[in-house]
C-alpha cells in the first residue's frame, strides 16, 4: 500500500471511529450500527492477517475499557473477525457492494456471537435472544451503514490514478 493509500485509510478509519462514538450513541438503537467494526474490516482487508488480528485486539481492548465487566471479550471477537477478514481479503477486493455488505453482516454477527459467549453475562433465553435476534439486526444495520459509507468514501479509499 502506498503512503498516500495508508494516509487515506487511516483517515477513513479515524472518521469511522469518531462516528462510532458520536452517531451511534445519538441514535440510541438497540440494534446498533457498529462503526468500529466497519473501520476494523476496512483496515483489515488492507493489511496482513496477523497485523489485522493485533489491530483488532487493540481496538477491542480500547472498546472494552468502556465495559469493564466484559473486558477482553471485544478484543477476542475483533481479533478473530479481523484475522478472518484479512485472510479472506480476496473476496473483499471484489468491487461488489453486496458482497462487502455480506461480509460486514457476517463479521458483525460473528463478532457479536464471540463477544456474548466470551463475556459470560447472558444465559438461556436472553443469550439466544441476543445471538439470534439483536445480533442479526445489528449486523444488518451495520451492513447497511457499511455499504452506504463505502459508497460515500469511495473517492477517499480508491486512488484516482489507479
Amino acid at each position: 500500500m502506498s503512503p498516500i493509500g495508508i494516509v487515506r485509510t487511516v483517515i477513513a478509519f479515524l472518521l469511522l471511529v469518531v462516528l462510532h462514538f458520536s452517531v451511534r450513541p445519538l441514535l440510541g438503537w438497540h440494534a446498533e450500527i457498529d462503526f468500529l467494526l466497519i473501520a476494523l474490516l476496512l483496515v483489515a482487508v488492507r493489511v496482513r492477517p496477523g497485523t489485522a488480528a493485533v489491530l483488532g485486539c487493540v481496538l477491542g481492548l480500547l472498546a472494552d475499557s468502556l465495559t469493564p465487566g466484559a473486558f477482553g471479550a471485544g478484543a477476542l471477537g475483533m481479533s478473530g473477525v479481523a484475522f478472518a477478514a484479512s485472510w479472506l481479503k480476496a473476496a473483499f477486493f471484489a468491487d461488489n457492494l453486496a458482497l462487502n455488505g455480506f461480509f460486514f453482516f457476517a463479521g458483525r454477527w460473528a463478532y457479536a456471537i464471540v463477544y456474548v459467549l466470551a463475556e459470560h453475562q447472558r444465559h438461556g433465553v436472553e443469550l439466544a435472544q441476543e445471538v439470534f435476534v439483536w445480533a442479526p439486526l445489528s449486523a444488518a444495520a451495520t451492513a447497511g451503514a457499511g455499504i452506504v459509507l463505502l459508497v460515500l468514501m469511495r473517492p477517499l479509499l480508491e486512488p484516482s490514478g489507479a
Binding site: 471511529v17 469518531v18 462514538f21 458520536s22 452517531v23 451511534r24 450513541p25 445519538l26 441514535l27 440510541g28 496482513r48 492477517p49 496477523g50 497485523t51 488480528a53 493485533v54 483488532g56 485486539c57 477491542g60 481492548l61 480500547l62 472494552d64 475499557s65 468502556l66 469493564p68 473486558f71 477482553g72 471479550a73 478484543a75 477476542l76 481479533s79 478473530g80 484475522f83 485472510w87 466470551a118
Partner: protein, 327 residues
C-alpha cells in the same frame, strides 16, 4: 518464495495466537486489576472519544427529554385551563355543603340537570324523587338563595321550574321588612330575560338599588328568609298604585348544579337563621373559601312579617298550583 509465504502465514497465526492470548488474559483478569487497567485506557487513549460519546448521549437524552417535557408542559397547560372551572365548581360544592350544614335537617340534596331542549330552558331535572323525600311544590334552594320549585315528582327523579320560568312566583320582601311584593320572572327581551321583577310594592316603600330581597314566607310555600335577589332599579309601569322593581337574581342559571330540596317540615320550621348573618357560617371549617368574598349577607330582622298586607292570593306560584291540584 513458498518458504516466505509459509513464514508469513506462521507469523500471522502467531500474531493471532498472541492477540487471542491477550484477549483471554484480559477476560481472566481479576476485578482489582481489570478495573484500573480499563480506567487507565479510558482516561488516556480514548479519553476524547469517551467525551464525544458522553456528549452524544447527553444530546440524545436532551432530545428524548424534550419530547417528554413538551408533553408534560402541554398537559400542565391543559390542566391550567380547567383550573378556574374546577375552582368554581369546587366553590359551588363547598357553598352547598355549607348550606346543608346550616340547614342541618329537613332537606334532600340533589343534582340539577339542565336540558337544552326547546321549551325546557326554565326547568331542571333533579336526580332525587319521591323515594328520597322530594314532594311537589317543595322549594329548591342553593347556597346563594332561591332556585325554584319542584313541579312534578317521580320515584327516582323530579322536575323543577327555576325562577326564570314564566309561572314562577314567590312572595318576597326587602330584607329589612320595609316593603313587600311578588317576585316573578321578568319577561323582557333576551338580555333582561334572566332577571326578576318585584311587583306590587306599596308606593310608600322606595327601595334603593342593591337592597336585598328575600322570600317573605307569605303563602306558606317558600319559608321566610330565602335570598331571592337584589334591587337593580325601579321599573316604570302603568300601575299607578304600586311600584315595580327590577331584581338581580341571587342564583345565576349557570350556578344551578347542586341544590337542596326543602322538605315540608323544614318549610314549616323555617330557615330564617340559615342565610342570616355572616355567610361564612354556612360553610364547613374551610378557611379561605371564596364565599367570604361574595356580596354581603342578608340580615333578616326578627318578626317583620306581621304587618304583611294580606294580598297573598297569588303570592306564591305554588298557591295557584296547589289550589289547582286540590279541586
Amino acid at each position: 518464495m513458498a518458504r516466505a509465504v509459509a513464514s508469513g502465514t506462521r507469523a500471522d497465526v502467531a500474531l493471532l495466537a498472541v492477540s487471542a492470548f491477550v484477549a483471554f488474559a484480559a477476560l481472566a483478569l481479576p476485578a482489582h486489576l481489570r478495573d484500573p487497567l480499563a480506567a487507565t485506557l479510558r482516561r488516556t487513549f480514548i479519553a476524547p472519544l469517551v467525551t464525544l460519546q458522553r456528549n452524544a448521549e447527553l444530546g440524545r437524552t436532551a432530545l428524548v427529554r424534550h419530547d417528554a417535557e413538551t408533553t408534560v408542559r402541554d398537559s400542565v397547560a391543559l390542566r391550567a385551563l380547567l383550573v378556574p372551572e374546577l375552582e368554581a365548581e369546587n366553590d359551588r360544592l363547598r357553598r352547598t355543603l355549607g348550606l346543608g350544614h346550616a340547614l342541618g335537617w329537613g332537606f334532600v340534596p340533589a343534582e340539577a340537570l339542565h336540558s337544552r331542549a326547546l321549551g325546557e330552558e326554565f326547568t331542571v331535572t333533579l336526580t332525587r324523587g319521591s323515594r328520597s323525600g322530594v314532594r311537589p311544590f317543595a322549594p329548591v334552594v342553593a347556597a346563594e338563595g332561591l332556585v325554584g320549585m319542584v313541579e312534578t315528582v317521580d320515584p327516582t327523579m323530579s322536575l323543577a321550574i327555576i325562577w326564570a320560568h314564566p309561572d314562577f312566583r314567590v312572595s318576597a320582601m326587602s330584607a329589612d321588612g320595609s316593603a313587600f311584593g311578588i317576585v316573578k320572572a321578568h319577561l323582557g327581551s333576551v338580555p333582561e330575560r334572566y332577571l326578576l321583577e318585584l311587583s306590587g310594592v306599596q308606593l310608600s316603600a322606595a327601595l334603593a338599588p342593591g337592597t336585598p330581597i328575600v322570600s317573605s314566607g307569605v303563602g306558606g310555600v317558600y319559608p321566610r328568609g330565602i335570598p331571592v335577589g337584589r334591587i337593580i332599579s325601579e321599573l316604570k309601569t302603568s300601575e299607578g298604585w304600586a311600584r315595580t322593581y327590577l331584581v338581580q337574581p341571587a342564583v345565576q342559571p349557570y350556578d344551578i348544579s347542586s341544590v337542596l330540596v326543602l322538605e315540608p317540615r323544614r318549610v314549616v320550621a323555617g330557615v330564617q337563621t340559615v342565610w342570616a348573618g355572616d355567610s361564612a357560617r354556612h360553610r364547613g371549617p374551610l378557611p379561605g373559601d371564596s364565599v367570604l368574598h361574595r356580596s354581603g349577607p342578608f340580615v333578616l330582622p326578627r318578626d317583620t312579617v306581621p304587618d304583611v298586607p294580606d294580598d297573598s292570593t297569588d303570592s306564591d306560584s305554588t298557591s295557584a298550583s296547589r289550589s289547582a291540584a286540590q279541586p
